[in-house]
């Protein structure tokens, strides 16, 4: 036990010696992540009213009804997401769609109006979107195609129906005036459609505001990247010392505990520094977290204490990766790839509800996903057993696997 304490002390000593360099690395990471977060939040602002979806409309727009439908939709500037319907030729629309200049293409076949007049259903509007497009853009595009479809076809059906009835009753002279009235009525209804619904904001994910969500994501990504900073402490260069230590009574458990303890302390110190920086930003009023409105920096202090288990868990995961991969280059690449891929799947860069269901479930099950949910709960002040338990289970699992990996390596060395 005494020797175990000495080993931990020695690892702490090593950690403290690299701390100045680490602070510089943390500052650089913080700055890069800060820029990324600012860009993400900026794009979130864009999504709140400034984004414009261009949809190519292919069909004979000289037709008064199709042209009318297009001009109606273009006039809806009060829409939350502005839509731009652009009449164009099929070839032009397709190439624009392939180049990514258009969000979608709506193709209205030439015989559509005749087909509607004579009550046939053999001409269909074709909507083109990219395969697997399941993000916000894709969903909106689909919705907009539906709107266009309704505007163009159902309004036409109504007007043609009215014209037919008027003619059947020998009142053809009134058709023109009634058509104008119907068009104006439709125009009025469409322009006022924003008044037909109320928009309730549920937040980006899990009931968090965009800034609250990305603050949690920032913490997770920062913790994941801290693994790379641990390389001077954890990269294995020689097995001579661990083997000698085992022969002197400090086995795999003691070695892992000593090294992991120092690494976790290092991550906690770096994380505390990052928290202080965020505290300064919050106190300065540069950003506001909706969930903590009017509460000052107190929730941030509470969050730091709450996040400790996540810090320990992700540190244990990174420790295990160092245990499994040898060499400086291999270890760093492994840490980097794992950090980025796990962060992506866990919804650090985009909320996970943008992903297909399988990916979303996988992302939530991964350590970074459990960390995200835990931190989101911490920000909302709603931590439950369901979010806390997986974090502790992962912590024990990673430490257990690290001890096992070290033990196997030492045993392999003994038999060598």
């Amino acid at each position: 036990m005494k020797r175990l304490g000495s080993y931990f002390g020695m690892q702490m000593n090593r950690m403290l010696r690299i701390l100045p360099v680490l602070f510089a690395a943390v500052a650089a990471t913080f700055a890069v992540l800060g820029v990324c977060a600012a860009l993400l939040l900026h794009s979130a602002d864009n999504a709140e009213g400034k984004r414009r979806f261009r949809i190519g409309m292919v069909g004979d727009s000289s037709d008064s009804y199709l042209g009318f439908g297009i001009s109606v939709v273009q006039a809806i500037d009060e829409s939350r997401f502005m839509v731009e319907l652009v009449p164009m030729e099929e070839e032009e629309a397709l190439s624009g769609f392939r180049r990514g200049e258009l969000s979608a293409c709506v193709m209205v076949p030439d015989g559509l109006l005749d087909s509607i007049i004579y009550g046939r259903n053999d001409e269909l509007i074709t909507y083109l979107s990219s395969e697997g497009q399941k993000g916000l853009e894709g969903i909106l595009g689909e919705e907009l195609a539906d709107i266009v479809s309704v505007l163009v076809t159902r309004s036409q059906s109504a007007i043609f129906g009215m014209q037919q009835i008027m003619r059947n009753h020998n009142r053809g002279a009134e058709v023109s005036a009634l058509t104008d009235r119907m068009n104006l009525k439709l125009f009025d209804v469409v322009l006022n459609r924003t008044g037909l619904y109320t928009l309730e904001e549920l937040g980006v994910s899990g009931g968090l505001s965009a800034i609250g969500y990305y603050l949690g994501a920032f913490f997770v990504f920062f913790l994941l990247l801290l693994g790379i900073h641990g390389s001077p402490l954890l990269v294995r260069r020689s097995s001579a010392l661990p083997e000698l230590m085992k022969s002197r009574g400090i086995g795999a458990f003691g070695q892992v505990l000593g090294e992991y303890g120092a690494f976790a302390c290092m991550n906690l110190i770096c994380f505390a520094v990052a928290f202080m920086a965020i505290g300064i930003i919050l106190n300065g009023g540069f950003i506001e977290i909706q969930e903590w409105e009017g509460m000052g920096a107190e929730p941030l202090r509470e969050l730091f204490v709450k996040i400790l288990p996540v810090t320990l868990m992700l540190s244990a995961m990174q420790f295990l990766l160092y245990e499994l991969v040898t060499g400086v280059v291999g270890s760093l690449i492994c840490q980097f790839i794992c950090s980025i891929s796990m962060a992506y799947l866990a919804g650090v860069f985009y909320p996970s509800n943008f992903f297909p269901e399988t990916m979303r479930i996988l992302g939530q099950l991964l350590p970074a996903g459990t960390a995200m949910r835990y931190i989101q709960g911490g920000i909302l002040g709603e931590l439950s057993l369901k979010t806390v338990l997986p974090v502790f289970l992962y912590l024990l699992l990673f430490l257990g696997l690290s001890v096992l990996a070290r033990d196997l390596r030492l045993e392999k060395g003994r038999r060598r």
Partner: protein, 223 residues
């Protein structure tokens, strides 16, 4: 007090490195193990230190097999391997603190083993900046924590200058006088002069060798 190795065996796959290695020596003695490169000298010492596992055999001390009794081995055996077991970015003091308690370390540095090895002179130097001699002395200093009765040395004077060798030999002489047993592998003639007996390890078998200073005869035997 004596030690006895009997029937120690080790194979790497199909290659037999040690076959029935046996040796007996008493307190206050130094045994030199000679042999060509890759003949198994380091393997033998690492087995005795508990770093590697033997395929068979016993290492008897005080009637107990040290290959099986790790707690007694930890107290009784000090081991200085060829490879670096020091932590590069730390100072000599920090490296020693891993093995010594604070008070014990201070005592050893003031009139104890560590003073004899001259470690006080470079206590604040990081291992990275140390010369080969300093590193070797520090490794020995780390190995002799708790004053073990058996010291296993894997080529202790390799690449050291004469002054440094003198210092280490002085300590080894002192260690012997205090009743310690030294077991060292070496290629160095000066090391052999320190030894009370020499053994030649060839084709996995350890046999006594009478070293008379004739290096050509030794070279022929090693071939």
């Amino acid at each position: 007090m004596s030690i006895e190795l009997a029937g120690i065996k080790k194979s790497y796959g199909k290659k037999k490195v040690l076959e029935n290695v046996s040796l007996k020596t008493g307190e206050g003695s130094c045994v030199g193990i000679l042999g060509g490169n890759g003949c198994g000298k380091s393997t033998l010492l690492s087995i005795l230190a508990g770093v590697r596992k033997a395929d068979g055999g016993v290492f008897l001390y005080q009637g107990k097999d040290l290959l099986l009794s790790s707690s007694l081995r930890t107290r009784a055996v000090g081991y200085v391997p060829q490879g670096d077991t020091l932590v590069e970015e730390l100072t000599a003091w920090d490296n020693l603190r891993m093995w010594y308690g604070k008070e014990a370390l201070k005592n050893e540095l003031n009139g104890g083993v560590l003073e004899m090895l001259g470690i006080s002179e470079f206590l604040k130097v990081t291992v990275r900046k140390m010369s080969g001699g300093m590193k070797k002395r520090l490794s020995i200093g780390c190995a002799v924590v708790g004053n073990p009765k058996i010291l296993l040395l894997d080529e202790p004077s390799a690449a050291l200058d004469l002054a440094c060798k003198e210092r280490i030999y002085k300590y080894f002489e002192q260690y012997k006088k205090q009743g310690g047993i030294l077991l060292m592998t070496t290629h160095d003639m000066q090391d052999m002069e320190l030894c009370d007996s020499c053994h030649l390890l060839k084709e996995g078998v350890l046999s006594p060798y009478e070293y008379d200073g004739d290096i050509h005869r030794l070279a022929r035997c090693l071939q």
